[in-house]
Amino acid sequence: MSSVKLEQIRKDFGSTSIIKGVDLEIPHGEFAVFVGPSGCGKSTLLRMVAGLETPTSGNIFLGERRINDVPAKNRNVSMVFQSYALYPHMTVERNMGFGLMIAKTAPDMIRSKVEAAAKILGLDKLLTRLPRELSGGQRQRVAMGRAMVRNPEVFLFDEPLSNLDAKLRVQMRTEIRALHQRLGTTSIYVTHDQVEAMTMADRIVVLRDGLVEQIGSPTELYDRPVNTFVAAFIGSPSMNLLPGTVTSGAIAFGEGSRLALGGQQRAQDGDKLTIGVRPEDFRVVQAGAPGSLAAEVKVTEFTGADTQLVCTANGQEVIVVLHQRVSAQVGDKLGLIVEGESMHLFDTASGKRLG
């Protein structure tokens, strides 16, 4: 019904290629998050679905309909802008009802729809205010109300929470999620914040340099990142990536530092591999214990629930997160071990996951 499909989408601006070939499909009702570093093309993709940009080549489908040639105003798709883009000279009520008015909806219909949406979003007392009289969070909600009221087939969000302070951001995340559960509309949400992606998405699309790196549920991306980029991008603090060479069943990082490889890893001696270990997957043992990585504590951070240790091992920075109180001091020497299943192996040259 209102699924979105991108087929071989390419986008060039002059001689620069922003989107280099993207294929993806978002089924009806899914909350998909496009995430990636600045310049990866996520906003451009979103705007192409909106109709504000045209693909240089490729097809966009809304349901069964190919919408490449349908102008933005006719696509029945709503967008929430990063800066909200509320009409400064209109009241909240007129802002929300504007699209319906353009569509020549009857005034009573407009009023009832606006009031219904306002109620859901907690805006019913603010209908006569102007945007400049509202707080950031309120403006955000008006922007969403404006998008909701037309009952579009797809919601598009372009980094809507970037301009809010941290606390408000967390609150709005939950609200948007709740709204989605209530309305069930297919949604595409663009952000550079992987925490937002992880907490809000049904599925995440990780983009880099105009290409899709991986598509999957948050769990899939977390547990089985498909390359070092996704591995380091998803998860905070980032996954530790330690390049080394395979020597007799373990990975050697030089100067005798080695970590035992788990049994199921089938790697050849001499292979250059990068180990990925999430900070919380380390176990701390005595320095020098067999099969452990020698590390020295540089900084300790105590977050209340966890202890975070920033260590150096073999000249590299390694972050360890322990879900308990540990009395580690700066300068302490420890050994780090990883359980086999928690170890991710990547080919150092290509960055791709092995096994």
């Binding site: 909106a50 109709g51 504000l52 802008f81 800066s83 009409y87 699209g99 353009i102």
Partner: protein, 272 residues
């Protein structure tokens, strides 16, 4: 103590700057209120000994002043209205199309002395035989009103965030609807400023009327120029006439002086 001295010096400097500007107008007022005796008196005094409104009465009686006033109103009003009707969408279109070439045409218009347009236009109007009406004067005044309208209005539209219009597009607006419901209301202050400035500069214009107008179709600046004689010193009525001609403009200026400070500087710094 030094602070007081500084403040005093500053006040003196302010006075030095503003006084010359204002004093000419005060003198104009003074001359217009003087009867013949005061006018010829030496030394000339700022405050007339016997202020009188006779000069103003003489202006109204001496010629069809109201008719000239009306001519000016019609000419400048029409030239401004047409400039707005045509120039506001143009200013919008230029910023959205990033059409710098139009602005170049406007620059050329600004660089050319007004008389240059008069010569061909005058020739054409003569050939068509329209020289007796206000129409050619209105058309020529558009040389003044249109460029400045487009320039100022374009500046205002430039500051409109594109996201607002994208939101309007997503809300289903066509290009025209987006202009009408979003861009236009938000540019209203700019349009007002442009209109007032265009009106003022059109009102002040002398040369177009001087060439194109006949007896009945003169605008005010032309009319009062013809009052000037060098033999007699009929200064009272002359000063009164001058005051009456420029008073509307002065009032309009004080009205929008804040916007002028904003509007002209934006155009001045950005463009020429």
């Amino acid at each position: 103590m030094k602070k007081l001295l500084d403040k005093f010096l500053f006040a003196v400097m302010v006075l030095m700057v503003v006084a010359p500007a204002v004093s000419v107008f005060l003198w104009m007022l003074s001359l217009s209120l003087k009867n013949e005796v005061d006018t010829l008196a030496y030394p000339p005094a700022l405050i007339p000994s016997a202020p009188t409104l006779d000069n103003f009465i003489a202006v109204f009686n001496g010629g069809p002043f109201f008719s000239y006033f009306l001519n000016s109103v019609i000419v400048s009003g029409a030239a401004t209205l047409i400039a707005i009707a045509v120039g506001v969408p143009a200013g919008y279109g230029i910023t959205r199309m990033k059409a710098r070439k139009m602005l170049l045409t406007i620059m050329i218009a600004r660089m050319t002395p007004a008389i240059s347009f008069l010569i061909p236009l005058f020739t054409v109007f003569q050939a068509i035989g329209l020289t007796g009406t206000l129409a050619p004067i209105i058309v020529t005044h558009m040389v003044i009103t249109l460029p400045i309208t487009v320039y100022i209005v374009a500046g205002y539209f430039e500051t409109l965030p594109r996201e607002l219009e994208e939101a309007a597009t997503m809300d289903g607006c066509s290009v025209w609807q987006s202009f009408r419901h979003v861009a236009l209301p938000l540019a209203r202050p700019g349009i007002m400023v442009a209109a007032i400035l265009a009106f003022i500069f059109s009102w002040n214009n002398f040369v177009f009327g001087a060439v194109l107008a006949g007896r009945e179709t003169r605008t005010l600046p032309v009319a009062i120029y013809n009052v000037l004689t060098f033999e007699q010193i009929a200064w009272g009525p002359l000063a009164a006439a001058a005051l009456l001609v420029t008073l509307p403009v002065l009032i309009l200026t004080l009205f929008i002086q804040k916007e002028i400070v904003g509007g002209l500087t934006a155009g001045g710094v950005k463009g020429s």
